[in-house]
C-alpha cells in the first residue's frame, strides 16, 4: 500500500505544489480537513461510552484544531495582500467544510462505532504522516510551510501511535480489529472513487442540462416574463385545509 501511494503521490505533488495558485489551494484543503477531523474527534469525545477515551479524543481534537489554524495562517501568508483568495475564504468559512465525517446527519463515530472509528483514525493518521513525509522528502513547500509541516508531523505521529495502541488492545481482547483496519483502508479508497465519479457525473449532467437549456427552454422564453413589483392580492387558496396541507405544490 505505502509503496504504491508514495509512487504516485510523489510525482503528482511535484506538479501540484508548483502550479501557480495551487499551494494555497492545497493548504486550504488541508486546513478544512484538519478542522473536519477536529469536529469528528469532538463528536467522539462527546459520545464515547468508554470514559477513559474521552480525554484522548478531546486532546486529539485540540491538536487538529491547532493544525487547521496553522494551515490557514500559511494560506493567509501566501495569498496576495489586500484581497483574499477563494482558498483563504474557504479556511474562514466553516460552511464549506468538506473533510467532516458527518453523512446524512450522523457523525463518523456514530456511523462506524468505536472500534471501526479507531481503526479509521489509525489508517487516516498513518496516511497523513506518509503524505507529509513525501512533501518533506521532496522539499515541496516553501521554507515556512515546511517548518509548519514538520511541527504538525510530530502530532500526527503521536496520533498514529496512540490509535495503534488502542487497536492493539482490541487485538489482545480477540476483537476483529485487523478486519476493521482493512475495512477502513478499503473505505477510504471507495470514498475517494465515489467522490471522483460523483464529480464526473455532475460535470456530465451539467453538459446535458445545458444542451437541454438551449434546445428546449428557449421557445418558452416568448411567453415567460418576470413578476411585476408592488403588492399583489394574495391568491385565494385553501392554505389551511388538511387536504391542501398534504400537497407539496
Amino acid at each position: 500500500m505505502g509503496q504504491l501511494r508514495r509512487a504516485y503521490l510523489g510525482p503528482i505533488s511535484e506538479v501540484a505544489w508548483r502550479l501557480p495558485g495551487w499551494p494555497t489551494r492545497l493548504l486550504a484543503a488541508f486546513s478544512l480537513a484538519e478542522r473536519g477531523s477536529m469536529l469528528d474527534m469532538l463528536a467522539a469525545a462527546d459520545a464515547t461510552p468508554r470514559r477513559e477515551m474521552r480525554r484522548k479524543y478531546f486532546l486529539h481534537a485540540l491538536d487538529e484544531g491547532r493544525h487547521a489554524g496553522i494551515f490557514a495562517s500559511r494560506v493567509r501568508a501566501l495569498s496576495p495582500p489586500g484581497n483574499i483568495s477563494r482558498a483563504q475564504a474557504a479556511t474562514e468559512d466553516a460552511g464549506l467544510l468538506q473533510g467532516h465525517g458527518i453523512v446524512a446527519g450522523e457523525t463518523l463515530f456514530a456511523r462506524l462505532g468505536e472500534m471501526d472509528f479507531l481503526a479509521f483514525v489509525f489508517v487516516a493518521e498513518a496516511d497523513a504522516v506518509e503524505q507529509f513525509h513525501v512533501y518533506l522528502d521532496r522539499r515541496l513547500p516553501d521554507p515556512d510551510t515546511t517548518a509548519a509541516l514538520r511541527d504538525i508531523l510530530k502530532d500526527e505521529s503521536f496520533h498514529v501511535s496512540y490509535s495503534k495502541l488502542e487497536c492493539d488492545k482490541y487485538r489482545r481482547e480477540g476483537q476483529p480489529i485487523d478486519h476493521a483496519i482493512r475495512l477502513a483502508r478499503w473505505r477510504r479508497v471507495k470514498e475517494g472513487w465515489m467522490r471522483f465519479t460523483r464529480d464526473f457525473g455532475e460535470r456530465m449532467s451539467g453538459v446535458w442540462l445545458l444542451v437541454l437549456y438551449f434546445l428546449v427552454i428557449w421557445p418558452f422564453r416568448l411567453v415567460a416574463r418576470l413578476e411585476r413589483g408592488g403588492w399583489q392580492r394574495a391568491p385565494a387558496r385553501p392554505t389551511s385545509a388538511l387536504a391542501a396541507a398534504r400537497l407539496e405544490g
Binding site: 484544531g65 466553516a94 398534504r246
Partner: protein, 583 residues
C-alpha cells in the same frame, strides 16, 4: 395521549427542528449547534432526534411532520425565472436543476426516510406562512397584522397576513424578484461580506458613515404610493447569475466592490491606515449607511401599509429582514403600531416553529397557547452530565454555592468569562445561556475580548444585557419595542449621562443592541446581573455569543470546553460549575 407535531426547516439555510406537545414547544434546535457547521442546511436529523428524546418519544409517536415550504411551488418559481431570463440564466440553470433533480424534488421520500415517518403524516406549509405563523402564534397577540420580509420563499418575498385567534389569513404579497432581503444581501456582497452571514456587519459598518449614496440607492428601490415596492432589475443579477447578486450597472453606480477581508479604517478610527484606505473605508461606510437607511425607510413604508390594510394595535414580524435590529427600533418608535413582536429565529430556522404551529392552530383548529416566554429551548447539558464530562476531560472545577455571585465578582475583577447555562438559545442571539460576558465599564476588557476571544472587526459592536428593573434608567427603549428588546431584536439609545460608564457596549452612534433580562426568561443570568450591580452599581454586563470566529455557538459541554481551551477566556461556568483555565 398528547398530540405531537414536528416542524422541519432544511435544505436552503439554517436547518432546524421544533417539537410541539399539544401545541406547546417541547424543544427547538438548530442543526448547526449539533453538526458544528455554521448555518448547516442539511436535514436536521440530530436536532430532531434531540427534540424527540427531550419529549421521551420516537418518530412513531408523531401525529404530523410539517415541512416549512412547498417544494414544488419553489421549483416552479426557479424554472419560470430561468426561462424568463433566457439566455442570461445559462450558468445558473444547470446548477439549479442538478440540485433539484438530484435531491430536492424527492423531498417526500427523503423526509420519510430521514425521520422515519409515514408519508400520510407529512404536511407542507408555505415558506412565508411558516414565517408569519412563527411570529403570530408565538406572540401574546390575539389579533395582529403579521408581516414577513425575507429574501424569497416560493414566490413571495414580502407578505402580509391577518392574524385572529387561531386563524391566519393572507392579505397581500410582493413577489420575486422584487425583494428587500435580496437588495440588502446584494449590498452586503458589494461590501465584501458573505451573503446570509455578513448582514449584521453592514448594520455595524453603517454607524460609521453618512447616507451619502442614498440618491444612488433610490434608483435600485422604488417605494410606490400604494404601499409596496419595486426593484430596478438592471442593477441586479441574482435572478439569473449562479453566484453574483449585483450587475455591472451596480458597480458603475456605486464604484468597485470591497474585497472580502480588506481592512476597514474609517476617519473616526483610522488606526495606521493610509490616506487612501481611509477614503475607501469611508465610501464603504457611506454605502452601508445608505443601504441601512433605505431598508429602515422601506420597513416603515411596509408597516404603514400593514396598519392601513389590517388595522390592529399589534404587529408581528418575521423573515430574515426582521433580524435588522436597527430597523426594528425605527418600526417600533416611528411606526403606527402600539406593540411589535418579532420572532427571535426570524430567519429560516424559525420556519420550523411556524410550520408546526400553523399545523396545530390553523389546520387542526386548536386554540392559542400562552406566548413563548423563554428562548433557551435547545440542547440542555445539565449539572450531572456536565460534571461527569468535566471529570473525564481532566478539567479542574469547583461547585460554587452561588455561581451568579461568583461570576459577577470575577467580571468586576476584569475577567472575561464563558457562561453556559440551561438550554441553547433559539435563534441567532446569545441570551445568557451560551454567552461570553465581560465588564462593560472597561474598553480594555472589550479589546481583550476582541483580540483574544472573538477576533472580530471593530465595526461590530458588543451588546449590553441589563436587568428589566433598571432598563429604563440606562436605555431609551421605544415603548412598542419592549418585547423585541427582551430578545436582542431592537437597538436602543443609551442615555447620554450613562454612556461614559459603559463605554464597551455603546456603538459609535450612541446606540446599543440591548437585551432586557427578566427573572422569568433567564433566572440564572438575571441573578448574575443583580449580583454584578451589587458589586459595581452597574446592572449591565457585556454579552456576546460564545463561539469562535466562523463557528456556531457552543452547545455541548465538550464544545464549550474546546472553545474555552482554544480561546483567551479567563474562566468558564457550565451549569453552575466553575472551570479553571488549564495551564
Amino acid at each position: 395521549m398528547p398530540a405531537y407535531i414536528l416542524g422541519i426547516s432544511a435544505l436552503y439555510h439554517d436547518a432546524a427542528a421544533v417539537l410541539l406537545r399539544d401545541g406547546v414547544v417541547v424543544g427547538a434546535a438548530q442543526e448547526e449547534r449539533f453538526s458544528r457547521v455554521k448555518h448547516d442546511a442539511a436535514m436536521p436529523r440530530r436536532a430532531a432526534a434531540w427534540c424527540l428524546e427531550q419529549a421521551g418519544i420516537t418518530a412513531a409517536d408523531l401525529d404530523y411532520l410539517v415541512f416549512y415550504e412547498k417544494p414544488l411551488r419553489k421549483f416552479e418559481r426557479i424554472l419560470a425565472t430561468s426561462v424568463a431570463t433566457f439566455p442570461r440564466s445559462w450558468g445558473s440553470f444547470p446548477r439549479q436543476m442538478r440540485a433539484w433533480l438530484g435531491d430536492k424534488l424527492w423531498l417526500r421520500t427523503n423526509l420519510c426516510a430521514t425521520f422515519g415517518v409515514r408519508s400520510d403524516r407529512l404536511l407542507f406549509c408555505e415558506h412565508h406562512l411558516s414565517h408569519a405563523a412563527s411570529a403570530f402564534y408565538a406572540s401574546p397577540h390575539e389579533k395582529a397584522a403579521v408581516l414577513a420580509v425575507d429574501g424569497v420563499g416560493e414566490w413571495a418575498t414580502t407578505s402580509l397576513w391577518r392574524g385572529d385567534g387561531s386563524a391566519l389569513e393572507p392579505v397581500s404579497e410582493v413577489r420575486f424578484p422584487h425583494s428587500l432581503g435580496l437588495l440588502y444581501s446584494t449590498i452586503t456582497a458589494h461590501l465584501g461580506f458573505a451573503v446570509n452571514e455578513g448582514e449584521y456587519k453592514v448594520m455595524g459598518m453603517a454607524a460609521y458613515g453618512k447616507p451619502a449614496f442614498r440618491q444612488e440607492l433610490d434608483r435600485l428601490l422604488k417605494l410606490d404610493p400604494a404601499g409596496g415596492f419595486e426593484l430596478d432589475l438592471d442593477y441586479f443579477s441574482f435572478h439569473y447569475h449562479p453566484t453574483r447578486s449585483g450587475s455591472p450597472a451596480l458597480e458603475a453606480l456605486l464604484g468597485p466592490p470591497r474585497f472580502p477581508g480588506a481592512p476597514f479604517a474609517p476617519a473616526v478610527a483610522p488606526g495606521d491606515a493610509s490616506a487612501q484606505q481611509i477614503v475607501e473605508s469611508q465610501r464603504w461606510a457611506d454605502i452601508a449607511a445608505s443601504a441601512q437607511a433605505q431598508v429602515e425607510d422601506a420597513m416603515l413604508h411596509l408597516v404603514r401599509y400593514a396598519k392601513g390594510a389590517v388595522g390592529t394595535d399589534a404587529l408581528c414580524l418575521a423573515g430574515g429582514v426582521a433580524l435588522n435590529s436597527v430597523a426594528n427600533r425605527r418600526v417600533a418608535a416611528e411606526g403606527p403600531f402600539a406593540h411589535v413582536w418579532v420572532q427571535p429565529a426570524a430567519g429560516d430556522a424559525g420556519g420550523a416553529m411556524g410550520a408546526a404551529m400553523w399545523a396545530w392552530h390553523a389546520v387542526l383548529g386548536n386554540p392559542r397557547q400562552p406566548p413563548l416566554a423563554r428562548m433557551d429551548l435547545g440542547r440542555v447539558n445539565g449539572p450531572a452530565r456536565s460534571s461527569e464530562m468535566l471529570t473525564d476531560l481532566g478539567a479542574k472545577f469547583t461547585e460554587p454555592a452561588d455561581p451568579g455571585a461568583s461570576a459577577a465578582a470575577e467580571l468586576a475583577d476584569g475577567k472575561v468569562i464563558g457562561w453556559v447555562e440551561g438550554g441553547d438559545e433559539w435563534g441567532p442571539r446569545a441570551l445568557g445561556h451560551r454567552s461570553i460576558l465581560a465588564d462593560p465599564r472597561s474598553t480594555e476588557v472589550k479589546d481583550h475580548v476582541n483580540a483574544r476571544v472573538k477576533y472580530r472587526e471593530l465595526f461590530r459592536p458588543f451588546a449590553p444585557a441589563v436587568t428589566a428593573a433598571a432598563a429604563a434608567d440606562w436605555f431609551d427603549i421605544p415603548a412598542a419595542a419592549a418585547e423585541p428588546a427582551r430578545w436582542m431584536l431592537s437597538t436602543a439609545g443609551v442615555h447620554e449621562a450613562r454612556q461614559a460608564t459603559i463605554p464597551a457596549v455603546v456603538h459609535v452612534d450612541g446606540s446599543a443592541r440591548v437585551q432586557v433580562v427578566d427573572p422569568v426568561a433567564s433566572p440564572a443570568f438575571h441573578q448574575l446581573l443583580v449580583e454584578f450591580n451589587k458589586l459595581s452599581g452597574v446592572p449591565v454586563v457585556l454579552n456576546t455569543s460564545f463561539n469562535l470566529k466562523g463557528e456556531p455557538m457552543v452547545s455541548s459541554t465538550v464544545d464549550a470546553m474546546a472553545s474555552f481551551v482554544r480561546s483567551g477566556l479567563d474562566v468558564l461556568y457550565i451549569d453552575g460549575l466553575r472551570v479553571e483555565r488549564p495551564k
